[in-house]
Amino acid sequence: MSLLAINTPLVRRILVGFLRDEIWKVGASKAVLGLSGGIDSALVCHLAAEALGPQNVYAICMPYKSSNPESEAHARLVAEASGVHFSVIQITPMVDAYFEQFPDADPMRRGNKMARERMTILFDHSALLGGLVLGTSNKTELLLGYGTLYGDMASALNPIGDLYKTQVWQLSEEVGVPRPVIEKQPSADLWAGQTDEQELGFSYREVDQLLFKMVDQRATPQELAAAGFSPEFVSTVYSKVQNSHFKRRLPVIAKLSNRTIDRDFRYSRDWGK
């Protein structure tokens, strides 16, 4: 824990500044985000409300028929606590219409489709409201690839992508995320009773310690073993990070010219801003 302890008032200040600066400089003043009822989107919602004023933040809860009803209740709680606009858009009709054609689809395909359905709704509301879509993936999920490419991983800006889940918990206390949301078990909520930690096979607290040492401190396998991590755990996590790397990159472009986008045509995204 101590390794991952952060100065929460400082991080809050930087992230609020990040949201203001990066949104205002493109001429926007509003933000749109999906509010799942979980802690990550709750934290982003609170940060956005502080940065832009709650009247400029549009939180949308997008349940599917199998989502736990408690999730919507928690999303509502977060919207009330942060004062942002709140709406509920059911994705069941769109998702079910699609899977009528593919009734044998497995839970992974169904979960990905739901995540991408939500993404299209958020980006549609981005156009409707003139606000930027905020990402809510944390560093743990991004490193493990525990997210849907072009689904929940899609956004314009992500304030919490450099915070491990353990740090998300700390910062959520600081910004006043409602207690039930901080204390509940993390879940992708694809079906009732699902929990992230069950699905991943390890706890966030364990894996955050490992990822921090592996990624941030570049510890060697020998150092990780000496720190008490089993070689199997280290190798599972290393493989997850490696095999999900494609999700963290833009699509690969076949090089032909002398200036290929992102290889030798390099500009910051904030070009001219």
Binding site: N7, I14, E22, K25, D270
Partner: protein
């Protein structure tokens, strides 16, 4: 040498918008003049922003550009230090800083140490400067450093040995390190500037920018260090600011009398040992 009031001009340049940044710089420098400053120090790459990448050739200015001429003209009223991308007649590009005074370009420094590791990629896009030279100003002898230059012990040392009594460091330092306690980058920089001031009995003026580029914050926190190593003025972190600080010539005199470190510095030993190390390393 005389007393002076320095303005640490902590701004938020726009990435690649030279015309907009020039307007901002002129506004801030004019404000510094109105507030009685004798010297205005702006951050590294104040005219262009930092993560330029392939924008480097598009935003680069020759020394005789109208943009620099405008600031040179303004320097009849106040001495100005500013960072920009310089292009030479043979199309070399440098991360440069100039000291403008009395309508003249007094000194040009090209950043020598271009960080190319971690989040930095300067040497991919920019040429390396090849000298550290102190120079005379209305306010005594000065040495200019651009950001990473300060992290190489030899750079401030050489400038102090060349007679500089004030070290002016222009910076675009990213905010990182959010463990418990103060911002890691800020702690590291303050340790560095205060140690350099103390070791070299020099004033240090450190000016860092603020704002964000592609999610990277620049933490500001510009400050002035007395030759004793005491921070005597500091701008806030993360916010735009015009921070004025009075620097008394007497403080420098007093410090150099009470801590005559530079008087006792054995230049010959240093030079002889460096030559020996160089000889042994190259053989």
């Amino acid at each position: 040498m005389r007393d002076l009031t320095a303005a640490l001009v902590q701004i938020k340049p726009k990435l690649g918008r030279v015309a907009d940044n020039l307007v901002l710089i002129r506004q801030q420098v004019t404000l510094a003049i109105e507030q009685g400053a004798d010297l205005a120090v702006l951050p590294e790459l104040a005219l262009t922003g930092y993560f330029l990448k392939d924008l480097v050739p598009e935003v680069a200015l020759p020394l005789e550009s109208p943009e620099l001429a405008a600031l040179q003209e303004l320097s009849r009223r106040i001495s100005i230090v500013v960072g920009f991308v310089e292009v030479t007649p043979d199309f070399q590009f440098y991360n440069s800083a100039v000291w403008l005074e009395d309508g003249q370009l007094k000194h040009l420094h090209r950043k020598v140490y271009l960080p190319t590791y971690g989040l930095f990629d300067e040497q991919r896009y920019l040429g390396r400067g090849d000298r550290f030279r102190a120079f005379d100003t209305k306010f005594g002898r000065v040495g200019l450093l651009v950001c990473e230059d300060m992290w190489h012990l030899s750079a401030p040392y050489l400038l102090a040995m060349d007679g500089a009594t004030s070290l002016v460091c222009l910076s675009s330092s990213p905010g990182r390190g959010v463990e418990e306690g103060e911002l890691g980058a800020a702690v590291a920089w303050r340790n560095l500037t205060t140690a350099m001031a103390r070791f070299l009995t020099c004033r240090v003026l450190y000016v860092n920018r603020v704002g964000f580029e592609d999610g990277v914050s620049f933490w500001g926190g510009s400050h002035a260090v007395a030759p004793s190593g005491q921070i005597i003025a500091a701008a806030p972190e993360f916010e735009e600011s015009l921070c004025l600080v009075r620097l008394a010539a007497g403080d420098l005199r007093r410090e150099r009398i009470s801590s005559p470190l530079l008087r006792d510095e054995n230049f010959c030993v240093t030079q002889r040992e460096l030559e020996r190390i160089h000889r042994e390393r190259s053989s």
